[in-house]
């Protein structure tokens, strides 16, 4: 693990990846708080993990033990359901700002 301190630029880069906007004050605070967490988790370096396989899920059982849905079409959400959930729709479509050639609030 990197023992260097978390840089302010790293915080801003991660915020961009996470699609979050930070004020300068927030970025400085996250740098300290996340830096402290990252420093703490360096303790994992003390464990002997040679040859230990990563464990993604507590269930290692074969898929046949588990409940898989039949590969058949079945009813899903209706247009009415979507209208209740989505912030902005246009007929059967979700409405978003213009995507092509950047700019323009609504398509």
């Amino acid at each position: 693990m990197s023992h260097d301190e978390l840089a302010l630029d790293d915080v801003k880069r991660v915020a961009r990846l996470a699609r979050l906007r930070l004020t300068d004050e927030q970025a400085r605070r996250y740098r300290v708080e996340l830096g402290a967490v990252l420093k703490h988790v360096e303790e994992l370096d003390q464990m002997d993990l040679d040859g230990v396989e990563p464990m993604h899920s507590p269930i290692d059982a074969p898929v046949s033990m588990q409940e898989l849905a039949d590969d058949q079409p079945r009813p899903s959400l209706t247009g009415n359901d979507l209208e209740r959930i989505a912030p902005e729709m246009d007929g059967p479509y979700l409405r978003v700002p213009k995507v092509i050639s950047g700019g323009g609030a609504s398509a």
């Binding site: 693990m1 990197s2 790293d10 915080v11 880069r13 991660v14 915020a15 990846l17 996470a18 699609r19 979050l20 906007r21 930070l22 996250y30 708080e33 996340l34 402290a36 967490v37 990252l38 703490h40 988790v41 303790e43 994992l44 370096d45 003390q46 464990m47 993990l49 230990v52 396989e53 990563p54 464990m55 993604h56 899920s57 507590p58 269930i59 059982a61 033990m65 588990q66 409940e67 898989l68 849905a69 039949d70 959400l77 209706t78 359901d81 209740r84 959930i85 989505a86 912030p87 902005e88 979700l94 978003v96 700002p97 213009k98 995507v99 950047g102 700019g103 323009g104 609030a105 609504s106």
Partner: protein, 452 residues
């Protein structure tokens, strides 16, 4: 009002008590939909459901600005199953935003401790725990990703059960960390918790992580002789860093087991020390991925855009304005540990540590032929509101609960009541943790702890 006596009693208790506690976000109108008592193991029992579990009635807000007005088009599988067992879902319980927190101080609304209002109820299922602890309902559902059922149960003086990973369907649970999340009961007794597990357990075609097992009655050992029980006392968890009441409660619980004829084996689990580090990397990583769906397009609240703002602006503004402080912090942490150049150093390493912890548990259960392990639920009783501001310090509160989630094991917190630990009046919980799918024996052991 309702025609069902227990429901009526709960509604009266809520009206009387919740003004000072704020455990409940919505009470559903019972007059319009009261079907009378349906038959079943939970017939007529009023239940509250944590607000990250989908209900077609009311909203499912996760205590977040992002989902403040979200009305689910479907009921979670657990809600359907409670209803089939005769229970009456009377409303929704408050929580830390998106289940991220240990105090129910994060998000749109906060909840107070049921008897010590200046303290926190724990979290993230703080509303569920406070409502049961205050006697407003005998049963509530919570979700447990790193202790979010057991820790608030310990703080509020009720029973909190995290079932084995895969035991209960998560369909309709708003996902936080999918390899860790599990739904379970907070209850006024081990018996009611067992009955609730009877109702909600079992495979579900809508959740591919739910495991197919033969149905069983989880209450079947509750009145059986306990002299054959073998209990591992995890002495490495009884450190001087804990509040002395906690260590005393666990040691007294071990003595109670011995008096009941059970065998106590002292064990050490050195890898547990690393569980918090492994957990916070994995949980944050999975959260950053799960919460990517909240983009202001398909769900939730959308900011009103200025002319010239792009789709990218929409994503960023919806997420920045919709998520609260702690949720943003964890998304940041998770995004960082998954980002190029850091993935192996943090995420993969945390997953290896996870396997090592699981192996250590398996080894101890096997070597000593243990039915269960006894350890603290929390390092301290409930703390005062606002007293833990540092995020890392808050994360460290989960030290004894996260191992069960990492390993997938069932675990339960039971209130410990005796004269020595009663000082100050704050409840204390002790925790049992058992092998995968061994809930029935664990519940039997838990029932020993609630006897005087």
């Amino acid at each position: 009002m309702s025609t069902l006596p227990q429901v009526e009693q709960s509604l009266a208790a809520i009206a009387e008590l919740d003004g000072d506690i704020h455990a409940i976000t919505q009470v559903f109108d019972q007059s319009s939909a009261d079907p009378g008592a349906l038959p079943g193991e939970l017939s007529g029992v009023p239940v509250l459901v944590k607000d990250n579990i989908a209900t077609t009635r009311g909203t499912t807000s996760c205590n977040s600005g992002m989902l403040e007005n979200y009305e689910s088009p479907f009921d979670a599988t657990v809600v359907e199953r409670l209803r089939e067992a005769g229970a009456v879902v009377i409303g929704k319980a408050n929580m830390d935003e998106f289940a991220m927190g240990s105090s129910t101080e994060h998000g749109l609304r906060t909840t107070n401790h049921p008897t010590h209002h200046h303290c926190v109820p724990g979290g993230s299922s703080g509303g569920s725990a406070a409502a049961v602890g205050a006697g407003m309902v005998p049963l509530a559902l919570g979700s447990d990703t790193g202790g979010s059922i057991r820790q608030p149960a310990a703080f509020c003086g009720c029973v909190g059960l995290k079932p084995t990973y895969g035991r209960v369907s998560r369909f309709g649970l708003v996902a936080f960390a999918s390899s860790l999340d599990q739904i379970g009961p907070l209850a006024s007794s081990v018996e009611i918790a067992s009955q609730c597990l009877n109702a909600i357990a079992g495979p579900d075609s809508k959740d591919m992580t739910s495991v197919r097992r033969d149905p069983e009655n989880f209450a079947r050992y509750l009145s059986e002789d306990t002299s054959s029980l073998r209990v591992g006392l995890v002495t490495s968890c009884l450190t001087d860093d804990n509040d002395e009441r906690i260590n005393l409660a666990v040691r007294n619980a071990a003595k109670r087991f011995e008096r009941m004829g059970a065998t106590i084996v002292e064990i050490e689990l050195p890898s547990l020390h690393y569980a918090i580090s492994s957990y916070y990397i994995i949980a944050a990583a999975e959260a950053s991925s799960n919460l990517a769906r909240f983009d202001g397009v398909r769900y939730g609240t959308r900011p009103s855009l200025e002319g010239g703002e792009s789709l990218e602006d929409l994503y960023e503004r919806a997420r920045t304005e919709g998520f609260g402080e702690e949720v943003r912090r964890r998304i940041m942490l998770g995004t960082y540990v998954l980002s190029a150049g850091y993935y192996d150093a943090y995420y993969t390493k945390a997953l290896r540590a996870r396997r090592k912890i699981r192996n250590e548990f398996d080894g101890a259960f096997c070597a000593h032929e243990l039915h269960t392990m006894l350890l603290p639920t929390t390092p301290t009783p409930a703390f005062e509101r606002g007293s833990i501001q540092d995020p890392l310090n808050m994360y460290l509160q989960d030290i004894y609960t996260v191992p069960a989630n990492l390993a997938g094991l069932p675990a339960i917190s039971v209130p410990w009541i005796d004269k020595e630990t009663e000082r100050g009046g704050l409840p204390v919980g002790v925790q049992l943790m058992s092998p995968m799918f061994a809930e029935a024996r664990m519940l039997q052991a838990a029932s020993v702890l609630e006897k005087d």
